[in-house]
Symmetry: C2
Subunit: 372 residues, 2 copies
């Protein structure tokens, strides 16, 4: 828990202390609706990724608009969601190691839980733990559809794992996890479309084997904010795992969306920062550095102030390049768009939710730091 | 607070869940002593920077070995230190804005507090707030000694601010903050030495003016792990602000230390990670990504396993390149050295303190997330 909270409900935005993580509620709500509108008429489920927001209040708003549940990446993240009232979580990731599997199984007694696997030994461990607890666990096979991260190879290797799950006494084969992570930030629409076509081919090679063996594959799940309309149109995917659409970050804003069918989601997430030093006419320093904004995907972008660029981050400072003629007095507060929303959210304990220039709510980031 | 803690006291290291932040107590204690030994016979104070560790338990161990207090970067960080029993904190940074200044002044009633300033308006605001609270506040002038971040220009501009503080009714001029941050990671000893010589010249230009005006300058403070022996030998600095020496990260380990007088501090801080997927002979995936390790200064380094390289981080995954012939079975636990210790520490709620393969203590990272 941060040592003190930067805001209180009812406070003016101008009074909110810095650095703080702001959520513009109007923009956020428009993004929720934009996703739904973009998918109108399509038979596809939405299961947003909670690794982006880590906040049950947001998950419940997504479900109120039709989401079937959420994805998580970690058991501890899923625990935070279930404790916060989310009844249905897919851990879109492998869970390895006795301590984590034990907690996973315990959670599956309290909520609808599914998990991914890409390894035969891990499947055996899940089966044994589920059996010992008298639980039947839903397990999806993760396949590598081009991101070259986790995931079994499509076709025979993935099929064999699905068969193992299908034959395990305490597991139920619940489908395929097929997220093409490396497609999401390809800048051109056509590059992303081609990457998802490749992913669909990989899925189809696998489902053909499952069908032949009579193993039902009830769900193919994947997709992110950069590509989801391609998966939605594919007739291969049943479920979309978009996460960042609610916030939009600088990295996603660099994508070309032309003819993608993906709407222009708005920036709703900001780092609220103060100009704390004005040592030279062309340089100012703000109080939001590496501990206030993850720079793994590039620097934050100054949102609503012209002629000011965030050029360098150190632990607690951001260096701002100030154009000639721009006045940026000491104490000026600025909105910064994070370079990458997910690891930035993970730095904070609260969203300071703002509407009409006032703080409307403080939503705890319940799964902040939930890496286990 | 993370959703569950990865370890309990007495547990074997092998049982500690992942990702976790490990502190090797033997190596940490050797680093504490190495710093002292390197400074033996020199008349210079040590005031380690608590922005690196954010942990009163560590601060108190530093003070037990002779440190005069700690530095902090944020008021909330200083609050965490004072609450944890640290009696003397220099906020080696500017504090701007009414809310923060109010807390700063309140803290100065409870502990020995000093703060930096580089702006006349800010000095007036500090004076007014101190006066309203009936407190006399110690203020140092930060000068730009080459890092081009915060800080007044040396010489006349810095002198005028010192004079203003000296003449303020409720402030006391307490010296110069002269940290050369951009020198710390210059790889060659001679480059760092030259940068600190430049910093010393900047300090001397300023202290000459102070002396002429009869304004006593009781303290020149600065230095980091990459350069501190040069400041110690300068006869210009009175106080060293080394932070990372207790941990050592990958970035610092790339410095050449030859003829610097700076000892080879050991890696004592590790991310404990599990191999959670082994999808190809040359690729394994561990469970420590961007939310477990800041990559702003490069990727973590695999510590004690040959033939394995951490090559890419995503939110919750690290991609490991595995050399031919190296076996890295699913579930293998690895120690990773963080690329940059400070923002990595800020991701965790506890140090899992290990000695002799066992968990000896869990130290809360009390100022985790203390960015305000």
């Amino acid at each position: 828990m941060a040592y003190y909270t930067p805001a209180q409900i009812g406070m003016l935005l101008a009074e909110v202390d810095t650095p703080a993580l702001l959520l513009d509620l109007d923009a956020f709500e428009r993004n929720l609706k934009l996703l739904n509108e973009s998918l109108a008429g399509r038979k596809i489920n939405v299961r947003p990724h909670a690794k982006s927001h880590k906040c049950p209040q947001i998950a419940k708003r997504q479900m109120a608009l039709g989401a079937v549940g959420v994805c998580c990446q970690k058991v501890s993240e899923a625990e935070a969601m279930v404790d916060g009232g989310v009844p249905d979580v897919l851990i879109a990731n492998e869970v390895v190691g006795a301590a984590k599997i034990k907690r996973l199984i315990a959670l599956a007694r309290r909520a609808k839980i599914a998990v991914c696997a890409d390894n035969a030994h891990n499947i055996s461990a899940l089966d044994a733990a589920a059996g010992a607890a008298g639980v039947r666990l839903d397990v999806l096979v993760e396949i590598n559809v081009g991101a070259n991260r986790c995931g079994a190879q499509p076709g025979e290797p993935a099929f064999r794992l699905a068969q193992q799950i299908h034959q395990s006494q305490n597991l139920r084969f619940a489908g395929l996890q097929a997220y093409q992570g490396s497609a999401q930030h390809l800048r051109k629409t056509e590059e992303r479309r081609a990457a998802i076509e490749g992913a669909c081919d990989s899925v189809k090679r696998t489902t053909a084997l499952l069908e032949k063996a009579g193993i039902p594959c009830e769900r193919v799940t994947g997709a992110g904010t950069g590509s989801y309309m391609f998966e939605a149109a594919s007739s291969v995917y049943h479920e979309l795992q978009t996460g960042s659409y609610i916030f939009m970050d600088v990295d996603y804003s660099k994508n070309d969306w032309t003819e993608s069918g993906i709407p222009r989601f708005e920036h709703s997430l900001f780092i609220w920062a103060t100009v704390m030093s004005t040592p030279a006419p062309d340089r100012a320093i703000c109080d939001a550095g590496l501990k206030a904004s993850s720079v793994d995907s590039g620097m934050p972008r100054v949102f609503d102030t012209q002629g000011v660029e965030y050029v360098k981050a150190s632990d607690e400072h951001g260096v701002l390049k100030v154009d000639a003629g721009v006045s940026l007095p000491l104490g000026t507060k600025l909105k910064l768009v994070p370079g990458h929303c997910d690891p930035t959210v993970n730095l904070y304990d609260h969203y300071v939710c703002v509407r009409g220039g006032k703080v409307e709510a403080l939503w705890p980031i319940a799964a902040r730091g939930a890496v286990l």
